[in-house]
């Protein structure tokens, strides 16, 4: 392949948003006819790179070339014109327009008077759907489609431009099987297009891609040929060598004699079925799963934010109905929830950090209902030291802090409530290495003092490091349950992708 002109050549691209650095000196290169994987944990910078390549944002520094010519798109339309099309992870379909309209955006086919022709739009849409084997009605409203149908439509829209460079960001997140997509990808590469494939699913990546570039914390760590690189090598690149080595598996004392604090029996809801587990006092129960396997709905249902179609929950042995987070906090020994997205579900950006931390128990802070920032700071002092949050930051507006400190503050809030059961959803997402260690220490000491933790993490080394036991969620069910000694990355990776432990042990 050497000597051929690259389909896409990205050199030393950097991008910052205010004080936060999203990408630093990232380089990547795609050959025509290649399927190139882009790997990295959540927050590594993949989405920013996708936005830069698609023309949505401009890089601060760096240069890009396409087929030897300089490439610096001003907009999505410009990028499309140059031959770059993207299927976004956050689907870019407009919900109140039809399938056919979405396929022709932004400019729809015109009729005789120069006006948009519904018939021509429908015809064009039907032709595209036919060409790519998509059985949807061109006049169907996108809002009425299932998630899988929408994902297929998003992908189809990208392919329909006949691009020279195709970017697919988590294209299989909502698809049950991949044949259709892989066929399209192979057709496109056979015709000379280059494909940038972003996915968490390593076995898919191995099936489809030739090379992989790994991003970590905004930097490109390296590019490997997928035939030679092992899963372990790749994970090390994604997570960091020192971390993988230093993290020791948690030796847990015998847990089965401790009282059960949270018992779930046959829980079923929006995207999960037949979930049963028991969480004990002093235990850290890990939950592993790829994105979209039902774990998010499960966590939210456990705290009353999502509906439970059937099943029962017992807290401290008593049957309960958790109708909302406020109820959950007061049930039994208390359940506190740390949500997935701190920016949209967690912090109140304009309030001080101390105010953010003590909000759930603000009624107890101060006298006769009157509070002051000083009182809030005093009340938050203990929990903020538990999470190793510098007390200096308590006065700052939480919106001004780094993501890591914000996350620490949110964990402090969960602990401030006095709840003895914590539901933590990906607590170290998008957080730097040092902060991660502080958060791990806080979680461990919480468990050691008798608290119980249900911990979902998208980073396997974390689960290996922290969990006493681990549940693996796949397809909305508990696929496997691993006792402490069996938790290691290899078996976890296998389980995450639906292979049983027996298969990998062989």
């Amino acid at each position: 392949m050497s000597g051929a002109v690259s389909a896409l050549d990205v050199r030393s691209v950097s991008k910052s948003y205010g004080a936060t650095v999203a990408l630093q000196d990232v380089s990547i290169e795609l050959q025509p006819g290649e399927v190139h994987a882009l790997l990295g944990e959540n927050g590594a910078g993949k989405s920013t790179l996708v936005k830069i390549l698609s023309g949505v944002v401009k890089p601060d520094v760096g240069a890009m070339r396409m087929g030897g010519e300089p490439y610096g798109p001003h907009s999505i339309v410009d990028a499309r014109r140059r031959g770059v099309a993207t299927a976004f992870q956050e689907l870019s379909l407009v919900p109140n327009l039809t399938v056919a309209q979405n396929l022709s955006l932004p400019r729809q086919p015109k009729g005789s008077l120069g006006l948009v022709s519904g018939a021509a739009t429908q015809k064009h849409g039907a032709a595209v759907l036919e060409r790519f084997g998509l059985r949807l009605s061109p006049n169907a409203m996108v809002a009425g489609l299932t998630l899988a149908e929408r994902q297929r439509l998003e992908i189809t829209r990208a392919f329909a431009c006949d691009p020279r460079v195709l970017i697919l960001d988590e294209p299989t997140a909502a698809l049950a099987e991949t044949d259709w997509l892989f066929r399209l990808v192979r057709q496109a590469t056979a015709a000379g297009a280059a494909v940038l494939y972003i996915s968490h699913r390593l076995h898919e990546v191995r099936e489809l891609c030739q090379r992989a570039t790994v991003l970590r914390n905004g930097r490109s760590i390296g590019t490997v040929g997928l035939e030679d690189a092992t899963d372990h090598t790749i994970f090390e690149m994604m997570v960091g060598r020192s971390q993988a080595e230093e993290m020791q598996h948690r030796t847990a004392a015998a847990q089965s004699t401790r009282p059960a604090v949270l018992q779930a029996q046959g829980l079923a809801g929006d995207s999960f079925k037949n979930i049963s587990f028991t969480l004990r006092e002093g235990e850290i129960l890990g939950v592993a799963g790829l994105e979209g396997q039902g774990q998010r709905a499960l966590f939210r249902a456990l705290v009353g934010l999502a509906p439970l179609a059937s099943g029962s929950v017992k807290v401290d042995g008593a049957l309960v109905r958790l109708s909302g987070p406020d109820v959950a906090l007061k049930t039994g020994r208390g359940i506190a929830f740390l949500p997935e997205e701190r920016k949209t579900e967690g912090i109140f950006p304009a309030l001080a950090t101390a105010s953010n931390i003590v909000l759930p128990v603000i009624g107890r802070v101060g006298r006769a209902g009157f509070v002051s920032e000083r009182l809030e700071r005093e009340a938050a002092a203990e929990s903020s030291s538990q999470v190793d949050l510098n007390s200096r930051y308590l006065d700052f507006r939480i919106g001004d802090l780094s993501g890591g400190n914000q996350q620490k503050a949110l964990l402090a809030r969960a602990m401030q409530t006095g709840a003895k059961i914590l539901l933590l959803y990906d607590p170290t997402r998008g957080v730097d290495v040092g902060t991660k260690q502080s958060i791990y220490a806080a979680i461990r000491s919480f468990a050691e003092s008798g608290g119980s933790v249900l911990l979902y993490s998208s980073e396997l080394p974390e689960l290996v490091h922290l969990a006493d036991r681990c549940l693996v969620v796949y397809g909305g069910r508990i696929f496997a349950e691993m006792p402490g000694g069996d938790i290691n990355e290899r078996t976890l990776v296998a389980a995450l992708t639906g292979h049983s432990m027996q298969e990998t042990a062989a």
């Binding site: 932004p106 948009v116 998509l134 949807l136 006049n139």
Partner: protein, 336 residues
Amino acid sequence: MSANADAAAASAPGSNLSLAFRRGLTDGAGVVAILYVILFTLYALWDRSALTVSGVTNLSNNAAPLAIAAAGESLVVISKGFDLSVAGVVSLSNVLMASYPVEGPGGALVSLLICLGVGGAIGVVNGVLVAILRLQSIAATLGTMIMGQGLALVIMDAPGGTVADWVSYTLTDVLFGVMPISGLIVLAVVGLWLLFRHTDACTGLFAVGADETAASLSGISVVSARFTAFVGAGLLYGLAGFMLSVQTATGNPTAGTPFLMLTFAAVALGGVSLTGGRGSLVGAIIGAATLMLLQKVLFSGGVSSFYTGIFQGVVMVLAIVFGSLVSRLAATGARA
């Protein structure tokens, strides 16, 4: 669950028609149209003159200004915004027409252009503040409304003045003895809307109102769409002020004040979703007509003004609750 199983129901025969019907219902215009028919029937029973040409003309003249203003407002609301400046533009247009009347058909044209100019100018200012400088639309248009209202007060500090005779006689009259001219003008606005419906700009408007990020990632210029909405709305407000002046034949610096609330009431009643992305100008126009007719019905029914306001308020709330219920049911039905 393969691609073959996807949305088999949607490709069933006849689905296009039922889809169109459901869309008409979910667009909200259907609900308010039914309401209007019921009201009109009641009115005709009470007052036989409602069915005469002069009765219909009366209704048309009465409703036209609000109908056109609501049409303009719905452009902004569909793109997920609020435009309070309607009151300012209407007052300003009315005051200019009454202070500087120009006779004859040519004069009418000049006056119309002045009104459109005023509305368009304020629309441009709104567009700059909201689309380009990204201020919150409700706050920014509050400012421009108050400024416009103030300018109207500066030009004319107390009610007075006279609108040119030609306009106030001719434009409140009928064409060919049957068709009220004000009604024709409203129909012309509807016609323009039906044309506009078939432009990329209009698709952009709906897209931006529903999901700004997705629209932008699909290549639509959000700035363009919002700017268009505000300028278009401003022009329509100017036209509404023109029609109001034609009807009242006099000037009043606070002529636009009642429009502030009535316009939004008409828009909401007409099924235009206040959260953007859904609705039709036609619905807003019928909503306006319904509100004005409601007033007339209550008046001619001998209902004291005590009840008028209560009725209007209750009708508004019920219509919105009912309308959102209907659209939610229809939407889940479309999914099946």
